[in-house]
Symmetry: C2
Subunit: 367 residues, 2 copies
């Protein structure tokens, strides 16, 4: 199967996202934030979370999963913590505000930890963690998500892919940016293999009996809502032999922090529907943390050690057949450099969908 | 190979640890803490971190890896954070103090985060995370450790097994206690397969070329200090196919938080030696966090949701051939119940070593 790509300048895509979000009812400020999170994903090479999602958000707003014209409400606050209710609105603006609050609290008290309930899909977790970097803080963000992951020894999907993101500044080296789903792979990888009609590696997904499968089409069929039989394996794969219970534990940890702690929905409660099948807001929860580096060490010392730690990895002896050892975030920073110049490669299906969205809202969109 | 076990009452083992630690130069208070952490490991079924380690600590104290007669020094403090220098002493007492400080700060400000540098092996990470439970806090602890883990695409061991522990209270259900090394398996599992002369599963370790191996004896030979060629795979295994880079990222994250942030040693710097080969303190670092549940929700509401989350997992449909879905910490709580009554099973090799240690210090130790 041949896929053709067209490179589109980020400014054009950013303008499209911004205008569509305004037409859908978001304020100018919110539309800017949403566009920035989406374009950041595309620039970083996380194509599954960029402009390709614009249609999903549009659909969610039209069907009532996402509310517009809502303001987050601050429900609880201590010197170092806070809890927001997102009112069923878009996940990005409330998350941007919550992360900024965590950073402010870290600056004042050393550490800040802010949670959000009653929210929706918030884009890439790494975006919010990275907001801490320019403040010389270590940043953290997690979110729960639609249940695609099968707990160890279970048959059905009960947990989200539940990403964990942590960003730490460095000196001459780039920041360390870990942004990982707690499943072995994201659902999008199953879809790619299905399109290519390739068997998936064993360890990515299990079938309707909770048994490892290599059949991508079956995994996709089984996952169709509301009956989610089988699904993605947690990091570590099926059972306990390669420690799939650790990935399951990390996924459950994210449900505890993002679902239970802020009083959001969790596990297979998320994306609820009314009795007659009408979708309701996803009810997702997020957490955001910031930790001031200079509460522990002078920033320059910390940065020098971060550089040294990274150098130890990068300059280590390579495994047979390998030429390079990566630091987390490094591939993405290189993508940003490339795509800022060359534009963001969109396949023709995504591009056609964007053109249709632009037409629906009378937005000029020429690539 | 047949292994015979003798069950020994926890009180006898606790008394032995306490007395040995005092004879080795620890204060009464410190000796109590160390004994409690070791016995907690045995009770929980984490045999690799219990009394079987007493000989290791004795050797470390005698060789100069661990100093006695030292007091931790508080180097930095903010309302919510602190940094201790452990002075090269035992890891347990300083960690107990640091975790209590994190809890106190959480009570006063919502969250507390305390780090330690210049420390040594601190036992099981879960012990400290669980200290938060009776205070209705979520507890967290991590530590770096001797470099046994090979980064993705590398050939040699550069990272510790670097455990992450998080504990969260529940209501009628038991607390959620995640306590996991960020490698696929701990080194002890390789040793067990070696003793049984069984091949290890592919995904646990790589050889001196960074290539997956099933030869346990080779992995052990290769890991002999100071030349640590090959070693354990990060969670997710070799390469990126099953996302070994995520386990590598979690291991690196622990080095950032426990090594770089407090100014401890990190990666393959730990367990340094003088130029003529004399061992120095391990230079390990730890972090401890506590988060007050009622900063976000009433404790009863949180506990009820924790129970419901656990019930959703436990009562879900089981995978083909499976009869039970576990919550993290559940197996360990059941071990505590069993071993509190039946005693702690020790194999004859461990028991013989404990008897020799007791003799060396003129301590009465009858099982």
């Amino acid at each position: 199967m041949k896929t053709e790509f067209t490179c589109v300048a980020q400014e054009r895509l950013r303008a499209l996202c911004f205008q569509v979000m305004q037409k859908l009812g978001e304020t100018e400020k919110n539309a800017h934030i949403i566009a920035d999170v989406l374009i950041a994903a595309d620039l970083r090479g996380i194509d599954s979370h960029g402009v390709a999602r614009l249609g999903m958000y549009e659909g969610f707003i039209q069907s009532g999963v996402i509310h517009t014209h809502v303001e987050p409400r601050l429900l609880a606050e201590t010197p170092t913590t806070a809890l927001f209710d997102a009112g069923g609105g878009m996940g990005h603006p409330v998350s941007y505000r919550a992360m900024n609050m965590a950073i402010d609290k870290a600056k004042a008290y050393g550490i800040g930890f802010v949670t959000v309930r009653n929210s929706n899909h918030y884009g890439i977790a790494g975006y919010y963690a990275m907001m801490a970097l320019t403040h010389n803080c270590i940043g953290m963000s997690m979110t729960n998500s639609r249940a695609f992951v099968v707990p160890t020894f279970a048959r059905d999907a009960l947990l989200g892919t539940n990403p964990i993101a942590v960003a730490a500044p460095a000196g001459k080296e780039r920041p360390f940016v870990l942004d990982m789903a707690t499943s072995t792979v994201p659902f999008g990888k199953i879809e790619v293999y299905n399109r290519l009609e390739k068997p998936i590696p064993e360890g990515w997904a299990s079938d309707e009996n909770g048994v490892p499968t290599t059949d991508a089409a079956k995994v996709i069929r089984n996952s169709s809502s509301p009956a989610t039989h089988g699904g993605l394996e947690p990091l570590g794969g099926n059972g306990e032999l390669l420690s799939g219970h650790k990935g399951y534990g990390l996924g459950l940890l994210v449900e505890v922090l993002c679902g239970v702690l802020p009083g959001a929905l969790y596990a297979n409660q998320v994306y609820p529907q009314t009795q007659d099948g009408k979708p309701l807001p996803a009810g997702l929860g997020h957490v955001f943390g910031a930790l001031r580096v200079d509460a522990f060490r002078p920033v320059e010392e910390f940065a020098a050690s971060m550089d040294d730690l990274q150098q130890r990895m990068k300059t280590a002896s390579k495994a047979s057949g390998q030429e390079r050892i990566y630091i987390h975030g490094e591939k993405e920073y290189e993508q940003v450099e490339r795509r800022s110049v060359e534009g963001i490669p969109l396949n023709h299906k995504v591009l056609a969908e964007l053109e249709k969205i632009a037409q629906r809202y009378n937005i000029e969109f020429r690539i």
